[in-house]
């Protein structure tokens, strides 16, 4: 059984004000077939964790490890990580002018499999997945993310999740900016991918509404660069009611007053 293990991960970025520490000792284990939700306030480092797993060059790993079935992921180049079975659905997918979705998908599939997929079955599968995600087939000939609405970009990310079949996927706020119908469609896509491949999921979100469609096995509260609390699905409901105040140090909690 596959397992993704994050151990005591410390990550910083270079900013104009100097080095800034963002992740301060993250521990997390995701087994194949498990769904982990990560919730936490803005700026707590959730996207940083996602990008670090994927290998974004902007983030510097100071210490710790990320292992996929015992193999150090942090030593791999970005594309090697993808070929090892990791996938990141991005919070802000970028546009790639002049590169069509169909060309992009085929190129990615070929890179992951080491050989071009047989044309007919591939086209059929692509069309089917697009139809499932209620994406018009004209998207295949449009340039990657160019002029896509926010919701369309997210569907396109999940289309890739379905077609590229990773072993572990990090979904960074895939639910943000989706209307109710799109949320349902996208969630179904994620559930389909999981049913088909049994992948493990790390679901970063601010809202419990997606958790009604994609049922998490574990919920982690992410605060100031580390996991502050872990629990089952009931923790998400509690967060929705109470917010993050009780996890924050007094000085930064909204109600704190300083008496001079």
């Amino acid at each position: 059984m596959s397992v993704l293990e994050i151990r005591d991960l410390h990550v910083s970025v270079e900013t104009e004000q100097g080095n800034k520490k963002i992740l301060k000792g993250v521990d997390l284990t995701v087994n194949e077939g498990e769904i982990h939700a990560i919730m936490g306030p803005n700026g707590s480092g959730k996207s940083t964790l996602a990008y670090t797993i994927a290998g974004h060059p902007k983030y510097h790993v100071d210490s710790g490890s990320v292992k996929l079935d015992g193999v150090e992921v942090l030593d791999m180049a970005v594309d090697e990580r993808a070929r090892a079975g990791l996938f990141l659905a991005m919070q802000y997918p970028v546009e790639i002018p002049g590169v069509t979705v169909s060309n992009f998908l085929r190129t990615a599939k070929t890179a992951l499999d080491g050989a071009a997929p047989p044309l007919r079955p591939w086209l059929k599968e692509t069309r089917q997945s697009m139809a499932n995600l209620r994406m018009d087939k004209s998207f295949a000939e449009r340039n990657v993310n160019e002029g896509f609405s926010g919701g369309e970009k997210k569907r396109h990310e999940i289309l890739q999740l379905e077609l590229l079949k990773p072993r572990f996927a990090v979904l960074d706020e895939t639910d943000s900016g989706l209307d109710v119908d799109a949320l349902k469609v996208v969630s179904e896509g994620v559930n389909r991918a999981k049913a088909n491949t049994g992948l493990g999921l790390l679901l970063i979100t601010h809202y419990t509404r997606i958790l009604r469609y994609i049922k998490p096995d574990f919920v982690h509260v992410f605060v100031e660069g580390r996991i502050a609390e872990e629990g089952g699905p009931e923790l998400a409901d509690r967060l929705e009611d109470e917010g993050y105040d009780r996890f924050l140090p007094i000085a930064s909690a909204g109600s704190a007053t300083i008496v001079g």
Binding site: A54, G55, H56, P57, A77, V78, D79, R81, A82, R83, F87, L88, M90, P93, V94, E95, I96, P97, G98, V99, N103, F104, T107, A108, A111, L112, N143, Q160, L164
Partner: protein
């Protein structure tokens, strides 16, 4: 009223010029530039002149000052219906119908050519013409070509340049009233070829010209298209894609002259540069005369600098002599690879090398796809990919 160029740096990592310097552009009225078909009427070229200062004048010297062979030159073209090809004399009335040289290399070619090749498109059913030049030589030569689209005709003419060349040439393009013409010039010369060209276009009432330059190979390629919109409703699109690699110089000085009411121009040039001393120059002069009321014009140039040591000069220049226009704008940006694009592609398993190829091909594809001949487009896109080195790691020890 004259406007000095300002630059839009909206693109990620955009720089006005790769080496951070700036180019001083004296404001000059393009309409007053000297023109003549006689080479002897032009002063010696020092290399400091506005129209030469960004060019490798030493390499162009044989074309500027030397004697040029001006006879008929070999070409290959499939005969097509609706398009007539013939050699005509210097004295023919068609010679000079679209414009006159504004610099010495162009005038030298004009003074030296003996016969001009005339391409005439007539009728609405004209087939595509691909005229290939692959058997020129390194002997300094002059050429003159006149492409005429008769009234209300529809045509598509491609000049495909390959092989050796030390060539200065003039291409006249006449688009008569109501005609729709596409002219494409593709440069895939030998690596030591030197090619200087001036394209003069004259676009008539409600006529439309699409002009596409794709310059990939050759040591020096300098093609200056100028378009005179002479009658109401004339419309021009000028597209260019270029890929300059180590030591190569690719230049285009574009001039659009809005000289009638309700004319429209769109200029879009995109270039990729890679390797030490890869150079490109783009100048975009747009003149909206007092006669150009209702003009709608937009020009842009974008450069992608793939490695250190490459330099792209990009100089838009807009002169507006009437207050009554529909729109006039320009944009110019030169930037490096967008790391976020590369990351996105790599995060899907695509190697860095393949990701770079995809991005560059995509960047230039937008222009190449304006050609309208799918086979040629595919060939050129493959040529662009093939020209890319495997990555910056090849550029010697970095980091």
């Amino acid at each position: 009223m004259r406007k000095q160029p300002d630059q839009d740096h909206a693109k990620h990592g955009a720089l006005p010029r790769s080496d951070g310097g700036s180019v001083y552009v004296p404001v000059q009225t393009r309409s007053e530039r000297f023109s003549s078909t006689e080479v002897s009427e032009f002063p010696e070229v020092t290399g400091r002149e506005l129209e030469w200062k960004l060019s490798p004048v030493a390499k162009l010297r044989p074309l500027i000052d030397g004697s040029l062979v001006g006879g008929e030159w070999p070409y290959q073209a499939e005969a097509t219906t609706g398009v007539q090809l013939e050699w005509i004399d210097r004295a023919d009335a068609r010679v000079g119908s679209a414009g006159k040289p504004e610099e010495r290399a162009s005038a030298n070619a004009w003074s030296s050519f003996e016969r001009a090749l005339s391409v005439t498109v007539s009728g609405e059913e004209a087939e595509d013409l691909v005229l290939t030049r692959s058997s020129l030589t390194a002997v300094p030569s002059a050429a003159h070509t006149i492409i005429t689209a008769r009234k209300h005709s529809r045509g598509h003419v491609v000049l495909h340049n390959t092989g050796a060349a030390m060539l200065s040439e003039n291409v006249e393009i006449v688009v008569e009233d109501g005609a729709h013409l596409t002219v494409v010039s593709v440069q895939q010369w030998d690596t030591d070829a030197v090619h200087a060209a001036s394209h003069f276009a004259r676009v008539g009432r409600d006529a439309h010209l699409r002009h596409v330059l794709v310059s990939l190979d050759g040591d020096v390629v300098r093609i200056n298209p100028s378009v005179h919109l002479v009658s109401d409703g004339a419309d021009v699109e000028l597209f260019g894609a270029y890929f300059s690699t180590a030591g190569q110089h690719i230049e285009q000085q574009v001039f659009v002259d809005h000289d009638a009411a309700n004319t429209r121009s769109r200029v879009a040039y995109k270039g990729a540069l890679q390797g030490r001393d890869a150079r490109s120059v783009w100048v975009g002069d747009v003149l909206i005369r007092q006669s150009g009321v209702g003009t709608d014009s937009y020009e842009q140039n974008r450069n992608l600098l793939l490695t250190d040591g490459a330099r792209a000069d990009s100089i838009p220049n807009l002169e507006i002599e009437t207050g009554d226009i529909a729109g006039a704008g320009h944009a110019s940006a030169s930037g490096r690879f967008d790391d976020e694009q590369l990351f996105y592609l790599q995060a899907r398993g695509i190697s860095e090398e393949a990701a770079r190829r995809l991005v560059v091909r995509g960047f230039l594809a937008e222009i190449v796809q304006k050609i309208g001949l799918p086979d040629l487009e595919t060939k050129l896109e493959s040529a662009i990919e093939a020209a890319l080195v495997p990555g910056p790691s090849q550029e010697g020890p970095s980091n």
